[in-house]
Symmetry: D2
Subunit: 146 residues, 4 copies
């Protein structure tokens, strides 16, 4: 089961959000937020969301997860100053990895959507099946809500 990138353009798709200020230093000479600024906003949501999931699953941390793939679709320009809310939700659960979907919104306008693939690493530092407790939680997140 996997959600499409289009789902991520709608704020209603998300239950979990974080609010962030755009910073002046996020902008570049093109006059809008640089892609590294977008990546920083997405990362903040990805890590805080993953930590909350790990806590809910009774796991000590997100330390055994490696971030292996980032996709960002730039859908609208973002200018300074602005306050955005960044939504996160599980959009795919695999054997040893899962994908967090992220949407960044200024009011209801979608700025970027992003897929973030995280792999569970076993003792040898190589991909290993997701522990049952976390898989169940991820699957529940995937199926929940809109």
């Amino acid at each position: 089961m996997e959600r499409s990138a289009d789902d991520l353009t709608r704020p209603e798709f998300f239950d979990w959000f974080t609010d962030e200020h755009v910073r002046f230093s996020d902008t570049d000479m093109a006059g809008h937020v640089n892609n590294t600024g977008h990546a920083a906003l997405i990362e903040t949501a990805r890590i805080r969301y993953a930590m909350e999931l790990a806590e809910r699953a009774g796991l000590p941390g997100a330390g055994a997860l490696a971030f292996v793939r980032l996709e960002i679709d730039f859908r609208a320009e973002l200018h300074w100053p602005a306050r955005v809310r960044v939504g996160a939700r599980v959009v795919r659960v695999g054997t040893s990895s899962f994908t967090a979907g992220i949407g960044v919104f200024e009011q209801d306008r979608c700025i970027t959507t992003s897929h973030n693939v995280l792999v569970h690493l076993g003792d040898a530092g190589r991909p290993a099946p997701l522990p049952d407790a976390i898989r169940e939680l991820l699957t529940a997140e995937l199926r929940s809500g809109p």
Copy 2:
């Protein structure tokens, strides 16, 4: 009249604050917020505070101000995750320049203090006396509060 750096370590010294999240990407391999992250937090406060002053003085923008000198005293380490509040206040008014004092606080713990010197540029792009309206406002800010 000029306020000392020590004044800036006390949250009571400030009337104006902005709240900011520390971002994961603000940290570095030393395990705490990198100095570029501190500079970004300070800048956000400096520019928003200057824009609010310009608005209150009925001036169109802060465009004729050049940022010429930055001083940061690193007083305590800042770790992720954290929410900080950043205070700003005029601490010196000169002929063609003024200094904004900044203090960054996690709860009441002072993380950094900073002096930021801004110069008013005249038509030729060279330092020129501050306009009366802005000088009066800056002086009132300098004298106000604690």
Copy 3:
């Protein structure tokens, strides 16, 4: 015609490179280069390569190109200090867009590979067919080399 992500893992795939230093501020508290640092290295190559192509095609700039999609595969950790070389090459040419493939290498070790989709904007600021001069150049780049 489109090149696979695996092609990008081999330095021999690229004719065009830029050399960059990793900066201390590119790292994060996990001890390696943060994804925003990787994005900055990739961007530097993307923009300089696009500008060189535009110059060779006799076009005034890359201003009419919008960056609409970024994909990064994180293949190996990158630590400070390091010097990397970043290769860029056209890997797909469409009607109104093309994709620049990027590979970041420390010596011959592939750190990241990246697909960067750029869309040509017409007068109304909407996607428009690539001009013939640029399309021919892009297609030659796509077919050239290894």
Copy 4:
């Protein structure tokens, strides 16, 4: 003995340099390099220079040095693209701290000068006198050259 900020505006003042590319993401919406970009260039030189000094003194690393104060004077605008060279040199040696002076140059044009205060931390994590070996080396650097 302490060197003035003006000394740092002359490339001849420095024996030690590192070459760096300005990155597109170093710029901001004002069209030039943002102060966080300047801080990143200065930091790269500060840390690499300090590590080289520590190596020359036969010390294992720069780990026991805390960076406690940063001053930057912005003297000229820096635009993308550019290649800069960043010079570093000891400009003050105290009891438990020393100051690294930094100058950033585009060709021979001085962009920023910076004072960076580093404190030696003893076992309790509090300022402690500089070890003799490092003090001698720092003093030699201070007195050397132009």
